[in-house]
Amino acid sequence: MSSANRTTEVVVCLKWVFQADEPSDARFAGMSPADHAALELALQWATHIGGQVTAITVGPAQADAVLREALACGATRAVRIDTANGVSSADVASAIASVARHAAWVWCGDYSIDNGSGSVPGYLAAALQASQALGVLGVTFESGSIVATRRVDGGRREVLDVQAPAVISVEGATARLRRASLTAMRAAASAPIEVVAPSIVMRTSEHIAHTYRPRARALASPTGAEALDRVRSLTAAGTSSAAHEVETLEPADAAARIVQTLREWGYL
């Protein structure tokens, strides 16, 4: 990508994933719904600003399938960074960043259906030194900028005015992917895909395939004459609910304090 037309460079990041109930069957593998939405919005946005879409995936040769789908839908260039599946999010992001470093607009799905944590877009924004709009529910296209609505805690919404360079990750329901035309599908089947080696040594991710549980804490045997008392003291049932402290600290100190407390409580 040349930096000359930096403001119109649109990239979409797509991940080839297995379905949860068919964990190793490539027949059922493909994009997550959120990636479908990201692809559609990337295409619409590129049309809006007169740019072109480059689709990037990080994965094995079979992952070409998602790139071909993107080409069939209107992407003009496809790049696969050749790795096995299951690489850590930070490394996926730096690998993508090395290919997309001139991109003005990077679209991603907010998380993939294979236990995705939604962290790649965040890492990517950091690596590209771009602004980020993550977990976006809806977008409005302005001339040269995007108004993005994102979900925040407590059912509230945050409205962002997004300027380039930016990484935007969207939820699956934001847009419905267009149907590829027959001609484009046929052309995409034999279109070239650039395969590049990752720019760094890729580490595999520590895969969390189960819901998070705090590690066990060793406790002294409870005292008490009655079994019920011992159970009560073990479970702290009947006592006041979870411990809480209120402190006023600088952000950095507050973060350190929270981490320390979580450690003490056994959550980390």
Partner: protein
């Protein structure tokens, strides 16, 4: 239909509609001959939504895929084949097993269609055919003379032109109908197949069905489909058992029974229940079968178009035989060959494509159908369905019942008594016997 079709522009030589066994074989043959072939399938991958009872006879692949048995995704090799006559409380089984069917080149095999069809289509792709999935063909493109020159699809910009269209779109082919090749269709000609797939551990299946390793069992059943004419089957996969019934649609519509109730009755039969006890239902599926053979077959050739497989009603459903996949593969293959011949000769008119008819007539595809043309009707007749099983089961029950101090009765006498008791006229019995002998003999 598009009237302004430019006859000179072809997107490819051959369009094959449907990635089932017929379509993939047609595509393999045409692509291997060097033609440009597009294979269109509406599902997300070939076979994804296809169902059947469960036994394929792939010997027809010997030519197309030598040593197919080394790579085909099969579940078990059928080495034991039983035919069962059931009444509500009795079962008469003819049970055959042979080691020969458990060794190359094998005979029948159980296989899942999403595996088998996907595998076959991968050979079409390897041969150079372009497979386009999630694409439904919505109609035929014809020129102003009515010659088929392509298809329309449900995709934007979705028209596709070719010199020959091979319709392999399965039972009730709307392409064959749109081309005017079916002169009449009659609900009498169709049966409804419904099937449950039950999960059981492999060792349990091996033990209950008396098999080991990759050996499998095929049980065909007559009787026990309620008042509805039809038949049943039980097939073993590696760790599932398929139990199903094939029901005459016209009869089914007249009864207050639902197909799943009929399966439930079959599953509860004392001869079947112990085989499948504890099996957890993994899947329930249903599909229409073109049952009437020759009586319902359409014209299979028109200008620029061929019809193969179930789309041409080539499924053989004759009681103890339910074969559709092998007829589909063979007819697809022959359609592919005829298309190649016609494209090379530069004549894709019905006349140029007539090599298809010749191939069908010269091989088992139409010869088996001709020989068994009366079989579907016989097997589904009220007598075979409701009266004979009862009579035969009673005869056997009396033959083997020891009523001492009574002496053993003679077989002739039992036969006569039981025939009368079942209300069967001797004339009908002889006539059905002859029809059966001519068909199966």
């Amino acid at each position: 239909m598009n009237e302004n079709v430019n006859e000179n522009v072809n997107d490819c030589d051959v369009i094959v509609v449907g990635g089932g066994p017929a379509g993939s074989c047609a595509a393999i043959v045409a692509a291997r001959a060097g033609l440009s072939v597009v294979l269109l399938e509406r599902g997300p991958f070939p076979g994804s939504k296809n169902m059947y009872g469960g036994v394929v006879y792939p010997r027809i692949l010997d030519e197309l895929i030598p040593n197919w048995w080394e790579e085909a995704p099969i579940q078990r090799w059928v080495t034991r084949r039983s035919t069962m006559l059931l009444t509500d409380t009795q079962a008469l089984t003819v049970d055959f097993r042979t080691e020969a069917w458990g060794k190359a080149p094998y005979n029948g095999a159980t296989a899942y269609r999403p595996d088998f069809d996907h595998w076959l289509a991968s050979h079409a792709e390897a041969a150079g055919a372009q497979l386009l999935t999630s694409t439904t063909v919505t109609g035929l493109l014809r020129d102003d003379k009515g010659v088929v020159v392509g298809v329309t699809t449900d995709r934007p910009d979705g028209d596709l032109r070719a010199r020959v269209v091979i319709a392999c779109d399965g039972v009730n082919s709307f392409l064959a109908k749109q081309a005017g090749l079916y002169t009449h269709t009659d609900v009498k000609h169709f049966t409804l197949g419904v099937k449950e797939t039950l999960a059981l551990p492999k060792e349990v299946i091996d033990e209950r069905f008396g098999v080991r390793g990759r050996e499998g069992v095929d049980i065909e059943i007559i009787g026990c489909t309620g008042g509805v004419n039809g038949g049943g089957f039980v097939y073993t996969n590696l760790d599932t058992v398929a139990v199903g019934v094939v029901l005459k649609i016209a009869k089914l519509a007249g009864q207050a029974l639902r197909p799943e109730q009929i399966i439930a009755t079959l599953k509860a039969h004392p001869a079947i229940a112990p085989l499948i006890e504890g099996g957890e239902v993994k899947e329930y599926s249903a599909h229409v079968i073109p049952e009437a053979g020759l009586a319902m077959m359409p014209k299979m050739i028109s200008d620029g178009m061929l019809v193969a497989g179930d789309a041409a009603a080539l499924c053989l459903a004759a009681g103890i035989w339910l074969e559709g996949v092998n007829f589909a593969m063979a007819s697809g293959m022959y359609a592919g060959e005829a298309a190649v011949e016609a494209v090379r000769a530069g004549d894709v008119s019905a006349q140029g494509l007539r090599g298809y008819q010749r191939r069908l007539s010269d091989t088992f595809v139409l010869q088996d159908h001709r020989k068994l043309r009366r079989a579907p009707e016989l097997v589904l007749s009220d007598r075979v369905q409701h009266l004979y099983p009862q009579m035969v089961a009673n005869v056997v029950e009396r033959m083997f019942r020891i009523d001492n101090p009574q002496p053993k009765p003679g077989l002739r006498r039992i036969l006569k008594q039981e025939r009368k008791r079942a209300g069967i006229r001797r004339r009908d019995l002889i006539r059905d016997g002859l029809t059966g002998f001519r068909s199966y003999g």
